[in-house]
């Protein structure tokens, strides 16, 4: 029996998995606003070393701090992706060489192999909205808050053309970690959460 889409946030032992606690609400909100997807109105937090992980086809992981997965977390995540689960990891630090970036990419490459740049004409950027120039720039990249760098591509663990693991250090977590009312007031043209719609739709239609 089919189930409504549930936004799942991964709980891991090290680091701060809970650093962007408002992201689920915002993503669910934009999915409801722009799409007719059957949605679970509430996100879930799921331990990535638990069997419950396999209940959710989409998993979001974020954080600022160094990440070292336990062997059970690694094995479970690997199996999750092998079975077709979609993993979206966002670097909440927005550092090109920050500790989350370094440790998380090391963990991902240890589990899945080399991360590759996703071309900016990938189907991900046409899955719902059109993003002809690739991933949209975040306000954090433009206002000089972080390292003052614009990351003009996302990375992924690819199976041919298909993305199994999506990795971003654009800090969408900060962009989407806002009070719901702030986001709801945005007009479609400048809604920073529109890319979330593409990511979720792509994940569910690969």
């Amino acid at each position: 029996m089919s189930k409504p889409f549930t936004f799942a946030t991964g709980i891991y032992a090290s680091g701060d998995w809970e650093s962007a606690s408002l992201v689920p609400q915002n993503v669910i909100d934009v999915l409801a606003k722009y799409t007719s997807l059957e949605l679970n109105p509430e996100g879930v937090n799921v331990r990535i070393d638990s069997p419950e992980l396999f209940e959710y086809p989409f998993l979001f992981i974020t954080g600022h701090l160094p990440v070292f997965f336990t062997p059970r977390e690694r094995a479970n995540l690997k199996e999750y992706v092998r079975r077709g689960g979609f993993l979206f990891v966002d670097d909440h630090n927005h550092d090109i060489d920050g500790v989350f970036h370094k440790t998380m990419t090391a963990e991902l490459e240890r589990m899945f192999g080399k991360l590759k740049k996703i071309p900016n004409d990938h189907r991900l950027y046409r899955a719902f909205f059109e993003f002809p120039d690739g991933p949209p720039t975040t306000s954090h990249e433009l206002n000089g808050w972080g390292d003052n760098l614009v990351h003009d591509y996302l990375m992924g663990i690819m199976d041919g053309d298909r993305i199994d693991v999506l990795y971003s250090n654009k800090d969408y977590s900060s962009e989407w970690h806002v009070k719901l009312t702030e986001n709801r007031d945005r007009r479609e043209v400048d809604d920073p959460a529109k890319i979330a719609v593409n990511i979720v739709v792509y994940a569910l239609t690969r």
Binding site: M1, S2, K3, P4, F5, I11, A13, S14, G15, E18, S21, Q25, I28, D29, A32, K33, Y34, T35, S36, L37, E38, P41, E42, G43, N45, R47, F54, E55, Y56, P57, H64, L65, P66, F68, T70, P71, Y80, R82, R83, G84, G85, N93, H94, G98, V99, R123, R126, A127, F128, F129, E130, H140, W145, G146, D171, S174, V197, L204, T205, R206
Partner: protein
């Protein structure tokens, strides 16, 4: 010939027979020792030291046999005993011979003549023939049997016994089928495996193997005979990955007189070595036995913690193991501080050690938190890394689990609920429960040697210890459910699990009190699993749980404007199940068993090689079946067992839940 002369002649015959049978017997014993040692070497290759002892042992056994035979035949030197021996076989002598040889009193001439007449009247020919012939024949037969057994020992094995050297590579014997017009030069073969230098292991030789299992980087040399019987260039060898995908790589075949050889380095992935000789070919599976990376256990700190204040000393205790030999290890500390979007992380090494190839190691360090300038909200990650000495495919790197030590930030209380760190008593309870299980298992093993009363007494004592441990767990539950100061009274997630553990302990306690140790063990293990669960849970719930806020979907949808361009979407194909494909290949090989056993054997070797990466759980059964097949045994039952195991895991894999809705 008078009576004394007759006895002297009989003595000579007996002495010669004893000497002959002793020599034959000693030779049989000596050869027997060689046969036994060769058989043992065939079953389990003997180490060099043991093989060096075989020849001296055979010589010593032969000498001992010789001495025993000589001692047992010592009576043949005495004329009187020889005379009695003859009297025993010729009762009609009526002791005339014994009296003539050893008279009690000197006989008169008349008496002597009477005695001589009595002896002369008895035909003594043939009296010794039967016992002498039997003694010699038995030992000769034993020697012949031992020599036949020795002749059946493969030449390579015999050479390892007779000329034990580290590098001796025994060539297989000349093929018995030399009379054939086109003998297969691929059988028999011997394979010498030289492990990589870092492993510190001795080379070893396998005779006629279907599979060669060795460390990646080992030099594998296949040798055979018959190079001079036929064109040398028709001998060929190639190696290809078992998983396919790459073209086979040809190997150079060297010819030295009548011997030929080909060498390959053991690859990191399973591979198929194919040998060719005109119309003949032969497969040998190369099975890499990986050098495992070091295994690290952080004994202290045993779990993640949150410190109320950055004070005190933190001991770090690391235990390391490696299958071949350790090179070095480090304890790494990552210190992260900051907040919001700005975090700073420093990495430092707080302990370091070198190991000279030992298989186990210990590394200790201490951190004084007071001196580190830690502030509320800071996080320490502690982990250890160790490297082995593998300089071929490595070095293998092992990492410990990471322990996360947090300094409590009072501001966290505003949005994240902080729960107290788990009582340390849970950890000690786990250790105690594990100890109790080990003691109960030991008691069960010792049961056959124990009196019933003693067995019951020990079981009752274990019951009392289990009861004491249950009380300790109950006190932890009490602490968790009645938090002083806060006024909390009620169940917590941890206390509920602990209650289950206590219940299992109570059942175990009861069973132990009536000496039902096997039943008690079931409950004891369940209790341990529950205690482990609670310890694991604390890693995660230490920092509390986020609450989730529902979105008012219907309200949001009223403002929705679905005008976006929907891109093309392709459904995802389910990945191929390698076990299913392996099952199909195994079925095809089984079907060939009757009609074409040789093709079936080759197919099975390929399936075996693929199973080394795709289905390790059937590799052992398949390997044994291939060896049994080479010995001409029926392998159908083993193959069906492997097939059942494959079938059990095919098609029963869980999948992600389905989802609904298209934009």
């Amino acid at each position: 010939m008078n009576a004394v002369a007759r006895v002297r002649r009989a003595r000579r015959v007996l002495l010669c027979a004893i000497a002959a049978s002793a020599i034959l017997g000693a030779a049989a014993v000596g050869v027997g020792v060689l046969v036994l040692a060769s058989a043992a070497d065939l079953l389990v290759p003997l180490p060099l030291g043991a093989r060096r002892l075989v020849l001296p042992a055979a010589a010593a056994a032969a000498a001992a046999s010789l001495l025993v035979a000589g001692w047992r035949g010592r009576n043949a030197w005495s004329l009187g005993r020889v005379a009695l021996y003859l009297e025993e076989r010729l009762p009609q002598l009526r002791f005339a011979l014994a009296t003539a040889v050893e008279p009690a009193v000197p006989p008169t001439d008349a008496a002597r003549e009477a005695l001589e007449r009595a002896v002369a009247n008895v035909d003594a020919r043939g009296a010794l023939l039967r016992p002498v012939a039997r003694a010699i024949a038995v030992r000769a037969a034993a020697l012949a049997a031992a020599l036949l057994a020795l002749a059946a020992v493969p030449a390579g094995t015999l050479a390892r016994i007779l000329d034990p050297r580290p590098e001796n590579v025994p060539l297989p014997p000349e093929p018995a089928a030399a009379v054939e017009p086109a003998p297969n030069r691929l059988a028999p073969i011997s394979v010498r495996v030289e492990p990589p230098r870092y492993a510190g292991r001795e080379p070893f030789v396998l005779e006629d193997p279907a599979t060669v299992a060795a460390l990646p980087g080992s030099r594998v040399e296949v040798r055979g005979r018959g190079a001079s019987r036929g064109a040398a260039d028709s001998l060929g060898a190639s190696v290809a990955p078992a998983s396919g995908g790459r073209q086979p790589r040809d190997l150079a075949v060297r010819v030295d007189g009548d011997a030929w050889s080909a060498a390959v380095v053991m690859p990191p992935e399973p591979a198929i070595l194919r040998l060719r000789d005109r119309a003949h070919d032969r497969l040998v599976v190369l099975e890499p036995v990986p050098d495992e990376p070091p295994i690290l256990s952080l004994l202290s700190p045993i779990r993640d913690s949150t410190f109320a204040e950055p004070k005190g000393k933190l001991d770090i205790d690391l235990q390391i193991q490696d299958d071949l030999g350790l090179a070095r290890a480090e304890i790494e500390l990552l210190y992260t501080s900051g907040g919001g979007e700005r975090f700073e992380t420093k990495r430092m090494i707080v302990g370091r050690a070198s190991f000279d190839g030992t298989r186990t190691g210990r590394l200790r360090a201490a951190i004084v938190l007071d001196t580190m300038g830690l502030r509320p909200g800071d996080v320490l990650h502690i982990r250890a890394v160790a490297w082995d000495r593998n300089d071929v495919t490595g070095p293998g790197q092992g990492e410990s689990e990471t322990r996360t030590i947090r300094i409590r930030d009072p501001r966290d209380l505003s949005d994240v609920r902080i729960t107290a760190a788990a009582a340390a008593a849970v950890d000690t309870s786990i250790i105690s429960q594990r100890m109790l299980i080990m003691r109960a298992e030991t008691l069960l093993v010792q049961k056959p040697q124990l009196e019933a009363e003693e067995y019951t007494r020990r079981s009752v004592r274990l019951s009392a210890q289990q009861g004491a441990l249950r009380q300790r767990v109950l006190s932890i539950i009490n602490e968790l459910e009645n938090v002083e100061g806060v006024g909390f009274v009620g169940h917590t997630p941890s206390s509920l699990v602990l209650r289950e553990a206590a219940e299992e302990m109570r059942a175990a306690e009861q069973e132990l009190s009536i000496a039902q140790v096997p039943v008690a063990l079931v409950h004891m293990r369940k209790a341990l699993a529950l205690l482990e669960k609670i310890r694991d849970a604390n890693r995660y719930w230490l920092r509390g749980l986020l609450t989730t806020t529902p979105v008012e979907i219907e309200r949001v949808r009223l403002t929705g404007r679905d005008r976006a361009n929907v891109g093309p979407r392709d459904p995802r194909e389910r990945p191929e199940d390698p076990r299913r494909e392996l099952l199909q290949r195994l079925n095809r090989a089984i079907a060939l068993l009757e009609s074409d056993p040789r093709a079936a054997g080759d197919s099975l070797q390929l399936v075996f090689a693929a199973s080394l990466t795709e289905a390790r759980d059937i590799s052992e059964t398949l390997g044994q079946a291939i060896e049994a097949m080479q010995r001409g045994e029926d392998v159908r039952a083993a193959l069906i067992a492997a097939r059942r195991r494959l079938e059990r895991k095919v098609g029963h894999e869980g999948t992600l839940s389905s989802w609904f809705g298209m934009p």
